[in-house]
Each structure stands twice: as C-alpha cells, then as structure tokens.
Symmetry: C2
Subunit: 258 residues, 2 copies
C-alpha cells in the first residue's frame, strides 16, 4: 500500500504525494480500532463476549479513552453492540438480521458489479485477475485466515472497479458483518466461491452488466444459503430446533435482485 515517497523530484515544488502525510502516524485510537477489529473478525473474541474497557486498556497498555472511542467506532460499523451503562459486547445477529444483511449486500454487490462492467477499467481488471489467480491457487490449500484475507481483497478490488466509494464503504461494512456471522464456518466451499468470482470477473470484462449483476447477487445469496443451511442442521443436531427459515428464505430475493 505505501509507495516510495522519498525519491528526488525534478519539479521545483515537491507535490504532496498521496495523503497529507500528517495522517500517517495514526492516533492510538485508530491502532486500537484496527487491532480490535482484526481480533473480532478473526474470531479471537466470540460473538456475545463482553468487551470491558479496563481490561482492553490494560491489554493494549493504553488508557481507557482510546479504547472507548475504538469501541464506539466499531459499534458504528456494526461489529459490536453497546448497551447504555452496561458495556459493549461483540455483536451477534439473529437469523432474521442475517437474512436482511445478506439481501441488502446482494443488492449492493449487484449494483457494483453492474457499474464495474460498465466501466471496464483496464487497470483494475488486471489487478483483479492477479487476485483471482492467487485466490484460485490458494483455494485448495485451505488456510482459512489467508482465504478470508484474499476474499476481502477481491471484493475490495471489485468495489474499486465500480468507482463508487460510497457504495464501496457500505459493501465493506456489510461484508465484515456477514463474515462475523459466517466466521465459525468460514472455510466453507472456498473452491466454489472462487469459481463464482471468476464468473463475475468474466462478465465484467465482457461488459455484460446484466450478467455481472446477476452473478454478483447470486454469489452473495448462495454464500448466505450455505451458511443458513449449515447453521440449521447444526442447530437441529444440538437442540432439535423447529424448521426455521433457511435456504427457502432467500429464494424470493434471488428472483429480483439484479
């Protein structure tokens, strides 16, 4: 991510390269945010676990203030839930909320794929191809953390190819939240995931907006179905839960999203 900045400049005034440079050394709060987010997404903290300010402050060797602000920032991202005067916990989502998130994500990913197919930015497409190859190669190995990272990277690149930063931000937020839900079973179907990525990218390259949108939408919905199915059978094995919404739940969405 960081480019060489120091090199000699031929021009008289050295132009401000990249960010205003003061933004580089981050406040403690941001470091805590990044660390906490990573810990949550990696599953180091489980859903529902309490996040006590004092304990985190001690862990990170900082005062409570940066920790507090970090927690609030993550709450805004939807990764932690805070109850007034009762503290924060790692967010957990009901089946209904999970379904809602997936439907919205499907719609947004479809929109973005459409935009990307419309633009066909050659640079982004080249970068996406690289990521795709890397992903398909690693899909067999099965290092979960690395696969999650590559998946995130692919989706980030696709978002960049859509050239709508507002949309990209929303998609990233929703992706992190769904990843949090999926975390227990994250390595599920990596090969199929990357096959779908390939198909989406091909449609983008072909400039086929309709197809790109359709495939992107299905990509999200199918991942959601895989999760909900697994969660249901898992629940049935444990507590013999009633026939809750599952694969069927999302079918209606498929028909309309792109």
């Amino acid at each position: 991510m960081s480019e060489a900045i120091a090199g000699r400049q031929e021009e008289g005034v050295l132009e401000a390269e990249g960010p205003p440079l003061g933004e580089l050394h981050a406040p403690l709060r941001d470091l805590v945010v990044d660390r906490l987010r990573a810990d949550i997404l990696s599953g180091r903290y489980k859903s529902g676990e309490r996040l006590v300010e004092d304990r985190l402050a001690e862990d990170f060797k900082v005062s409570r203030n940066p920790v507090r602000e970090a927690i609030r920032a993550l709450a805004a991202e939807g990764l932690v839930a805070v109850a007034p005067r009762r503290g924060a916990t790692v967010a957990g989502f009901s089946t209904a909320e999970t379904r809602e998130m997936i439907e919205v994500r499907a719609t947004l990913e479809a929109m973005n794929a459409r935009l990307a197919a419309r633009r066909r930015d050659p640079g982004m497409i080249a970068t996406l191809m690289e990521c795709l190859n890397e992903g398909q190669r690693r899909a067999g190995e099965g290092d979960p953390a690395e696969l999650v990272r590559l998946n995130a990277h692919f989706h980030d690149l696709l978002a960049a190819a859509g050239h709508n930063r507002i949309l990209g931000d929303l998609m990233r937020q929703l992706r992190e939240r769904t990843n949090l839900v999926f975390a227990p079973r994250s390595a599920n179907g990596a090969a199929q995931t990357w096959e779908e990525h390939r198909a989406i990218l091909e449609a983008v390259i072909a400039g086929d907006e309709e197809l790109a949108a359709l495939l992107a939408s299905r990509h999200v919905l199918q991942a959601g179905e895989r999760h909900l199915e697994a969660a249901q059978t898992e629940a049935a094995a444990g507590g013999e839960a009633g026939p809750t919404a599952s694969a069927v739940t999302l079918e209606a969405a498929k028909a309309r999203s792109p």
Copy 2:
C-alpha cells in the same frame, strides 16, 4: 415516543414493557449527538464549518469527552469529517460524491419499495396514508423545516413497511447526508415530491413491486437532478464554471436501477 409506563399491572410479574428501561435516560453523549445532528441538518452549522471540541463543550455545558464521542458518532454517520489532529468539520461533498450517494440511495429505496409492495402491511399502509395526506396538505404552505421533518417521517415509515432494519438504517444515513447537501435549496419542489410519494404508496398498496421500485428510484434520482441542475446554474452565475456533470450524469442510472 415515550409511553406511559407507571400504570398498575394486573399480571403478577410486570413484564418488561418496551426497552429495558435503563436505556431511557440517555447519556450526555447521546443528547449531544442528537442536538449536534439537528443543528447540522437544520443548517445552523454550514458545510465546512469547524467543530471545535472546547467551544461545543462550553456551549452545551458539558466536558469535552461527550462532545468528542458525539463528533465521532456523527463522523461514522458521514455528517462530519475529521482529520487526525486537525479537528472536525461539518461534512461537505463533491459533485461526484453527491452523485454516488444519490445512485446508491436510489437503488436502496427501490429495493425497499419492492419489499414494502411485497408485504403490503395494512397497519403501515394506514400510517403512511396519514403521513401522505398531512404532507400533501402542508406542501402548499412551505414551512421548510416542517416539510423536511415530514419528508423524513414518510421515508422512515416506508422503510418500516419494508421490514428490513439493516436496509432502513442505511437509507436513513444516506437520506441525512443528501439532505445535508440539499439543505440550501431544500424547499425545492415540495408539491412534486409529495405527488411522487403518493404514486409510490399507490404502487405499494397495489402490490406492484416493479412499479413501486421504479417510482422510488426515480423519486430519488429526480430530486438529485433538481439539485444538481440548481447547483450548476448557481455556480455558472457565480464563477462561470465549465459544463460539469449534471442532469445527464444520472440518466444512465435511471435505466437500470429498479
């Protein structure tokens, strides 16, 4: 919003009515958030204006801490921009960002209208009718603040009718951000706005998902066009700016969104 809670209960154990009751008396931070957001959306603070923690703390007669957290919360909503060690300012959006926000909002509103039309929740529809009548009545009078409030209310109700809270939250955030951009010219075309609201609601009542989505999308895009046109002629009058993107910019989006 606050219901009567004290009344005698016939049941042996008084059931927790509504929220856990401890959530009622809000922390100072939340009060500051609400106040600041209202002040920003009402135009009391203009775009780009600095938000100095000390000054706000003194204004509100609280310490800097709640103010800090409030500013960060509003930053997460996209209403203020913070630069590290340089403080916060009321957010301002470029033409490109505004266009992006409008396109995303159009997509989400379309999705929500589709969901609402699918559900046809009788209760919500009745409430929406009330709001619609009130809105059309007031559209002629032209009290800008009241119209903004009613518009927000209508969209909130429509979101509730869609029964997807994740979607509703995102729509509210985007609506507030666009309202911030539109603020200077907010009273623009109130009559047409409420005519569009009426058409959307009719499509929802008829259960016509396609039409509801189409109309909702257009509703957002047309409001965006009105704004961009006004902004452009305004800019041309002042600084004779080049022919920037405007009405044309959003046309491509119209063809595909629903």
